[in-house]
């Protein structure tokens, strides 16, 4: 086989455009890219298809190119472009003289800038500030950079071009002053390969300087970093440019579901430097508030940076450097056969490619003219195909997905039509079905979920991968993508990459999402892999229920020191801490009012009580209470002590057990129980309900891991692989099995969850169905591992009956939300509270407190202008941390919400967290909270009690980290119990 005529270096817009152009003219070319397609600035920019108006004053030539290229790209690639139009908005602060200069320059460059009445503009874009002095309409658009590059590559391949991603250029071979070939190497090392060729096109963007150096050439490209912020929702329908001398933070681009805002201009040493500084992001936000006064009310999904390739032969830099592109023929520098295309901007990539290809063609003696401006990039999908798409993709999203997929549309439709369960949404925030994901995965390198993310937008929406990342790993296993990395590692890399984008923005809503992420991946699924040395020898069984501890001094019980007044105690918060506290007070004869704001996250938790799994990264072995000594003295457990903590565990087991959900711990030596999870990991827990007991799994030689078709949060192959790779299960076999859904649950529209199945199992005939489906397995295996689906209320009964019928142990694994185990615990707790006579008001949000001196006299609730005050003798505040909204946070600040107790935080934003998301040592923000004394009263720095009749419980307390310690529900129960004993 002959080698390529031309090797193109760089898989960004320019390189992809070159590949298409050359291939269309019949020239055999190979594109090599060091990462994934579009991994550089072509996907790390605003996504703005410039009308040219931004450059009219400083760079009229670039502006004119934008005018014509804007029209060309709209024509050939409408599926990559959203015709949003754009506004240039002059704020009252901005210099009016610039406006005059800008409007006349627009005329000179032929840009149709139409002046608009500012009032009309604000009506069209209501989020804009009212301090607008002038508005012009221009033909700006949003462009999907990744899709544009991807579609260019698809088109190039259609014409015979070859593409190698994750391939680094390591050398350029020359012979007699002529290029003879290039040396390449796959990522991850391996043999270097020589590829003979006649020409090399250096289209490496910000890496162009480095590439040129391989041939001993000097190309002055200065990498210039720009920071961008992606917002969760589309608060503007149009591109909004600030009408002033180009500066930082001028442009907002609505893009699909999000808005991208930026940017900055910071010269950097190396093009790989895409680090994001918190200060830079804050400055950007401050700038942006001028045009969008409520900008800080919008959730930021992430911050990201890209490095522009600025061509700077004359040492100009930053905003002074030209945005024009250059084509350098290195013949002048004494090397034949190599050209460099650099500078420029995304909007003019096709033109750059055309000019560079013209030059090459003249050298090659090829006389075919460029056709890239005439031929559509992608063939249009037919009407009948789009009609079929509507049945496959959710809610109005078929057009969206069709545009995303380009040529791949039909394959995905056929795939989903043949396997209806693939219509299930893998990513619910950005509407990515399993069918689409699998199609993208088949084309990916198998190196990174990021490749698939860019092709599908999976993990780029509201939850930033909290829910879809695990499903993505499972899906990869399902379709046998030859994964270079294990699914677990891919998941970890993916989450670390997401973490990188949110780490500089750890406050408010971003921080809440991160807490949810830590809840799911660290606390629930134990992906940071805190593992025991050996599985505990003793497994909870009939005898294992914790008995009430009667040790002396271990707290008083049942003594009614309360009067008969309205309420003795008001408990705020319906999480585990608040519910335990309320139960304890009622148990002691107190009259309790429980105020709940939201249902608490117990409903989506794992349903076990996790006491303590690790201390400072060290795994707790044996009796967790014995480890309390090693905790920091400010840790809630250290304040309360092992004795009372043990009583708390007994208490909750007793109360919840009485309400129909038996909770058990290990009978002797009180160690942790290691539960199998949906990620194929084991997680430590202290109290569990019967169906969770993993005993059967520990002893069986062969275990069937059973999932249900289309139930996306428990993938048997992922679980089986994880468990079989676990050294603790060496020699054991895990057999993945998929059951078909019961007819009633098929094809409903909503994706089926474990909760749906649990409800079904409790319906008449449901259990028989389950038995029938599972019984063929009883001859092949010694144990069954299921997602939690054994009913909501009568789980203990169903579990026992099922085990008896099948004659083998049945284990329920731990599943991410919406899981069933947590809901069972919540229901049982509410039953217990009802029995104890606790008054519960749900959906009541306390906004502030009435304080007299050092006593609280009432809690104020306000809704729609109406106020109520709830008073009692004492108060328990169990409103949660950042996620529960007990603690409010702003950049560099945190405060308790009801009493406005300031919370001391690390001085610099970067000290709030660690570099890595999965860090065995706690992130600083994780243990921020209210400082308390042994009575759980808030104290100031001098240990003075702030409020004598207020006690705090649960995550709101400082000094513990639920995620790395695996202690969330334990701290809630222990401190709730203790607070209930003190109030």
């Amino acid at each position: 086989m002959n080698g390529p005529t031309v090797v193109i270096v760089g898989g960004g817009a320019t390189g992809a455009g070159m590949a298409r152009d050359l291939a269309m003219r019949g020239i055999f070319c190979l594109l090599v890219e060091q990462g994934d397609l579009c991994a550089g600035a072509s996907s790390r920019f605003h996504g703005l298809l410039h009308s040219g108006a931004r450059y009219v004053v400083s760079d009229p030539e670039a502006a004119r190119e934008c005018v014509s290229e804007n029209a060309v790209l709209r024509r050939i690639a409408p599926e990559c472009i959203e015709e949003t139009e754009g506004f240039f908005v002059r704020h009252a602060q901005d210099n009016p003289a610039w406006e005059t200069c800008w409007t006349s320059a627009c005329v000179r460059c032929g840009i149709a800038a139409v002046e608009l009445d500012p009032k009309e503009a604000i009506r069209m874009e209501p989020a804009l500030t009212s301090d607008v002095r002038a508005v012009y309409r221009v033909p700006d658009s949003a462009v999907d950079g990744f899709r544009m590059v991807c579609h260019n590559v698809m088109a190039a391949k259609r014409y015979g071009a070859k593409v190698q991603t994750y391939t680094r250029l390591t050398g350029i071979e020359t012979e007699n002053g002529r290029v003879s070939g290039v040396w390449t190497q796959c990522r991850g090392g391996g043999e270097k390969t020589f590829i003979p060729c006649d020409y090399v096109v250096n289209a490496a963007g910000a890496w162009a300087g480095e590439t040129a150096r391989l041939a001993g050439l000097d190309v002055s490209v200065s990498p210039d970093r720009g920071l961008l912020l992606a917002f969760n929702h589309r608060f503007t329908e149009r591109v909004i440019n600030r009408l002033r001398k180009p500066s930082d933070g001028d442009i907002f681009v609505p893009h699909g579901t999000v808005v991208i805002y930026g940017t900055t201009s910071v010269p950097v040493q190396h093009p790989d430097d895409i680090s994001v500084e918190a200060d830079e992001a804050l400055r950007l936000l401050e700038d942006g508030e001028t045009l969008f006064p409520r900008l800080r009310d919008y959730r930021i999904l992430r911050a990201f940076a890209g490095t522009r390739p600025l061509y700077t032969p004359d040492a100009a830099s930053g905003r002074a450097a030209t945005r024009n592109f250059v084509i350098l023929d290195h013949k002048e520098a004494g090397l034949q056969g190599m050209i460099t295309v650099t500078g420029g901007k995304f909007t003019s990539f096709r033109l750059m490619a055309e000019k560079a290809a013209d030059l090459l063609c003249s050298k090659l003696g090829v006389n075919i003219p460029c056709r890239t401006a005439d031929e559509p990039l992608m063939p249009r999908p037919s009407k009948s195909l789009l009609r079929r798409a509507r049945n496959v993709f959710p809610a109005g999203g078929s057009g969206l997905v069709a545009a995303r997929l380009g040529e791949g549309l039909e394959d995905v439709i056929v795939h989903a039509e043949q396997r209806p369960w693939k219509k299930t949404l893998l990513c619910e925030c950005e509407l990515v079905t399993f069918a689409e994901f699998e199609a993208a995965a088949a084309q990916s390198s198998g190196l990174s979920l990021g490749d698939i993310r860019r092709r599908t937008r999976m993990g780029m929406g509201t939850c930033q991968g909290n829910f879809c990342a695990l499903r993505a790993c499972a899906a990869l296993l399902e379709i046998d993508v030859p994964a270079v990395l294990s699914p677990r590692l891919m998941l970890e890399h993916f989450l670390e990459e997401r973490w990188h984008g949110v780490r500089p923005l750890l406050w408010g809503r971003q921080l809440r999402e991160v807490e949810l992420e830590r809840g799911i991946y660290a606390a629930l699924l134990n992906l940071d892999e805190i593992l025991p040395d050996a599985l505990p020898a003793c497994i909870p069984d009939d005898a294992g229920a914790v008995r009430p501890t009667e040790a002396p001094g271990c707290g008083e019980r049942g003594n009614a020191r309360y009067s008969s007044g309205r309420y003795d105690v008001v408990v705020v918060g319906a999480g585990l801490a608040g519910l335990t506290a309320a139960l304890r007070i009622a148990d002691r004869g107190g009259n309790v009012l429980l105020l709940a704001s939201g249902a608490g996250v117990i409903a989506v938790s794992g349903g076990s009580i996790d006491l303590l799994g690790a201390v400072n990264g060290e795994i707790v072995s044996g009796d967790p209470f014995a480890w309390f000594d090693r905790l920091d003295p400010s840790h809630p457990y250290a304040l309360i002590g092992a004795c009372e903590a043990a009583s708390a565990m007994d208490f909750i087991a007793l109360k919840v057990g009485e309400a129909g959900l038996p909770l058990r711990a290990l009978a002797k030596n009180r160690g942790n129980i290691w539960l199998p999870t949906a990620a194929g990991t084991l997680k430590p827990a202290f109290l569990i309900s019967p169906g969770m007991s993993p005993q059967g799994l520990y002893v069986a030689e062969t275990t069937a891991v059973v999932g249900l078709r289309g139930m996306k949060d428990f993938a048997p192959r992922l679980v089986a692989r994880g468990l079989s790779e676990n050294p603790l299960f060496t020699g054991k076999t895990f057999l993945p099995v998929i059951l078909e859904l019961p007819g009633r649950l098929q094809g409903g529209g909503r994706d089926v969850t474990a909760l749906d199945i649990a409800r079904f199992v409790e319906m008449p005939g449901g259990l028989d169905w389950l038995c029938g489906e599972l019984s063929p397995l009883s001859s092949k295996t010694q144990a069954l591992l299921l997602p939690p689906l054994l009913g909501l209320r009568d789980t203990a009964f169903i579990h026992e009956k099922l085990e008896k019928k099948l004659g083998l142990p049945v284990v329920e694994g731990v599943c991410p939300p919406p899981a069933v185990s947590g809901l069972r615990l919540q229901h049982a707790l509410f039953r217990a509270l009802g029995k104890a006579g606790v008054t519960i008001f749900d959906n009541v949000t306390v906004v502030r407190a009435l304080v007299e001196g050092r006593f609280c006299r009432g809690l104020v609730v306000r809704q729609s202008g109406i106020q109520r005050i709830f008073s009692a003798k004492s108060y328990i505040i169990a409103t949660g941390g950042f996620y529960g909204n007990g603690i409010a946070s702003q950049p560099g600040q945190a405060v308790e919400r009801i009493f406005n107790i300031p919370i001391s935080v690390p001085q610099y934003p970067e000290n709030w967290s660690r570099e890595r998301f999965f860090s065995r040592k706690a992130h600083a923000f994780a243990s921020l909270g209210v400082a308390v004394n042994r009575d759980l009263q808030a104290v100031d720095e001098e240990e003075e009690v702030l409020l004598h009749n207020v006690h705090f419980a649960g995550r709101i307390l400082q000094g513990h980290d639920f995620a790395t310690e695996k202690s969330g529900s334990g701290v809630a129960v222990v401190t709730g119990y203790a607070a209930g004993g003190k109030a």
């Binding site: 589309r234 579901t257 909503r750 959906n843 809704q863």
Partner: protein, 400 residues
Amino acid sequence: MFHHFNPDECTACTVCTVHCPVAAATSRFRGPKMTGPAFERFRLFGLHDDASVEYCSNCKNCDISCPSGVPVSTFNMLARAAYRKGKKTPPGDLLTGFSGDIGRFARHIPAFLLNFGMKNPLSRLLLDAVGLDRRAPLPSFAPMSQRRRLASPPRVEKAGARDIVALFPGCFVSYYEPKVGLDIIFLLEKAGYDVIVSESFVCCGLPLLCGGLMEAAQRRARRNRREVARLTEQGIPVISPCPSCALMVGKEYQELFSEDNIGSPAGPVHEATSFVLSLVEEGRIDVTTARPSAERFAYHAPCHLRALGMGRPGFELLRQIPGAHITDVNAGCCGLAGSYGMKKKRYEIGAQTGATLFSAIAESGTERCLSECGACRAGITHGTGLATMHPLSLLAGVLQ
């Protein structure tokens, strides 16, 4: 152009879907998270094409359970209106949507005629054909004299300057249970108030909203809001015996409609039991003098009362009646959700939802169930056969 607001508080945690009674009953509903805040991001992007939002009953258990304070149901109602745009409104929705106007129109027609007209077997077949399930409980019109008396309560001349309150009776009380309104007037007058019932108030618009009739709802919002603002400016509190009306007028107008479209500033609307509870707390009504009651009652907190975020005032109030034994059943939605469970195709969903509540009420061993919401009371009677009552009617009874 529809009014949009910010879906950013949602973290996609799924708590709302877990607590959604409709999602529990049918997998045809994608669930409140998806149809609400998740799809809102796509609606802002111009995609309004999700039929599953038709299943939302607007019971607001999503709002109540959300740990992030997202008004999920409002997103859903706006989404439904957007989805319905350019489509024909089903006749059943028109009928329930405009039931307030029907009641107003029929105010001079005797009840027996109205009820016969509505409930004879032939009419039920007809209603069934337009989309109201034959099995569903339809409310009965109250005697004309009562309806008229509530519409313009007789002014009792009393000495001295007295405080004034304005009653927003709401359609259900106005046309089907004016007795509740009259009981409340009795209690308020006992506390030293003069009660006015403004003629300017119209249906709050909630049934219209649920039927996707956004513009009609907006017209009513404009009118009610103007009147609430006028009264509030004069220092006259507005109270409603219907939690849904109080919620709609007092809270949801500003979520649903843009300020430009409904004009007047938001004024507070008090739910009647919480208002009376505050009068009891202030000592303006003395509950301890009530005739002791030995009866056992079940109390059901209507979803929309819970959505008001003011606790369970009815329950707190009734507990103070000497001797009364009240059980808070706390078992979720009655399933009727206004008129949702009356609709064909929704009846089964409603019945399945209500089953938990009905069995909990039956288990409580009481003979009467108290609840602030008229539709809940109808649903409970339909589901359990028990008599029902507004808590304030009970209070008025023991204080008479």
